[in-house]
Amino acid sequence: MAKPILEIKNLKKSYGSHQVLRGVSYNIEPGKIVGLLGPNGCGKTSMIKSIVGLINDYEGEILVNGEKPGVNSKNDIAYLPEKNYLPAWMTPKAAINYMADFYKNFNKDKAYELLRTFDLDEKQKIKTMSKGQQEKVQLLLVMSREAKLYILDEPLGGVDPVARDFIMETIMKNHLANSTILLSTHLIYDIEGILDRVVMIKNGVLAANTDVTTIRNHNMTVEALFKEVFRYDA
């Protein structure tokens, strides 16, 4: 069995008295496409922020490619957050140069290729772009990384179905072969076909961690399992 690219051991995170993660443990093997699923507020984003190094005051252990979150793990992870993180004054060209400065595995040629595919002007300032264009810039910056682990937090949130297809196509075409994708979403229907595994978080605990093949062998879909796990109890 290959060494896990991501190991989460008994992860707990609280905001004051509110505990959002209550001891979650799971591993992700390399080369898999994993859906991190759960309703809003279940702790998905807190977990992701802990993995990428934006949250440090958690309990438990996180190992990325065998190492605690730090300089090496940040080089291994390409992270797409929900938020628009680019400064308003930046242009796509400046953003590409910025990423190329810091990440050894950033492929500038690929970034410019995606810029053309997305029909974006390399000299247009972020602040003058539409929300969709800004999201495309962030997506191209992430997918131009030759990373070991891509972590995409709600990449399909707030976009129309056509754009969702386009985003999924871009991710599938451009991620490095043998790399791992951890994709957080609550829009299961759009990603069901590409997932190898699903991890479901409910009220801060692990509710499911299973192969999609196993789900299908039980004559179920991921969406059906999701509805069963998260159904409202009468």
Binding site: V52, L54, D57, V71, Y79, K83, Y85, F102
Partner: protein
């Protein structure tokens, strides 16, 4: 990586601060050109407006620098841009160090711009404002020139280092306050709390620095045109009472050590206690 952080921080801040200094340089150049090109003795409208503008802009430079440096720190670390900054494959202390160095450089540039604009003002207004004092000032300058040049250079370098260290100390104190204001209890109104907390925090650290500084006497004085090291408190007080201005070497170390302490405290809170929203 540190050089890359510095480069990118200078690019990010330079697009605003750079423009301000280009404006200051432009006004200074325009005023000086107008002064040297005029035919009569009377002050021209361009000179008068130039001087007025220069003084206003120069006096505002420090406030502008503080506001801009703080705003950049808040946005790029604890705002949404923090998602970019804190996921870079660099050590977190480097991110903080780069911000401190860049901000300190801008404060030093602000001081240099203020001094330059005062020089332009003196050049243009020497007859109007200096009048009969002109000879007195020239006499003082001649007196200074009798001082040993090497001693003056040493004194100037030490003073520049001291100003740089003090600006860095001020900067890290501002950043420490902003970082505290971004911990969970204050985060919702972080700007408000940065302003409110700055006065007591800056007050305490500055008073502490001054207290330590006052206990250590290790200063240079110009005595008979040459630099002499004074370590005796009574001698220090006697020379100061005679109007002799000291070059406090001890202050450099005091502010450096305390600044390092505030830096590590800021880094600890930043990396352990702040959750990026």
């Amino acid at each position: 990586m540190m050089l890359k952080l510095l480069k990118n921080d200078f690019i990010a801040t330079g697009r605003i601060m750079g423009v301000i200094y280009v404006i200051v340089a432009g006004i200074s150049a325009g005023t000086l050109i107008s002064h040297y090109m005029k035919s009569g003795e009377d002050m021209t409208v361009v000179e008068a407006m130039g001087i007025a503008l220069l003084l206003v802009v120069s006096l505002c430079l420090f406030v502008l620098t503080v506001v801009f440096v703080l705003s950049d720190f808040q946005k790029s670390l604890y705002g949404e841009q923090g998602y970019l900054t804190f996921t870079l494959p660099v050590k977190s202390w480097m991110i903080l160090a780069s911000k401190v160095i860049v901000a300190t450089v801008w404060f030093v540039v602000a001081l240099a711009a203020l001094l330059a604009s005062l020089w332009v003002t003196v050049v243009v207004l020497k007859e109007e404002i200096l009048g009969e004092n002109y000879d007195l000032i020239m006499g003082m300058i001649n007196q200074i020139s009798t001082v040993n040049v090497a001693s003056m250079a040493v004194s100037a370098v030490i003073r520049i280092i001291l100003y740089f260290v003090q600006f860095a100390f001020f900067t890290i104190t501002v950043f420490f306050t902003s970082t505290v204001a971004n911990t969970r209890h204050f985060q919702k109104k972080n700007i408000f709390w940065t302003i409110v907390l700055f006065v007591p925090i800056a007050g305490v650290v500055t008073k502490f620095a001054e207290f330590i500084d006052s206990k250590i006497v290790f200063s240079l004085f110009f005595i008979e045109g040459k630099l002499s090291l004074v370590t005796d408190n009574l001698e220090y007080m006697r020379l100061q009472a005679n109007g002799n201005s000291p070059v406090d070497i001890a202050s450099i170390f005091v502010y450096l050590i305390l600044g390092a302490g505030v830096f590590f405290a800021t880094h600890y809170i930043m990396s352990k206690k702040v959750n990026i929203r």
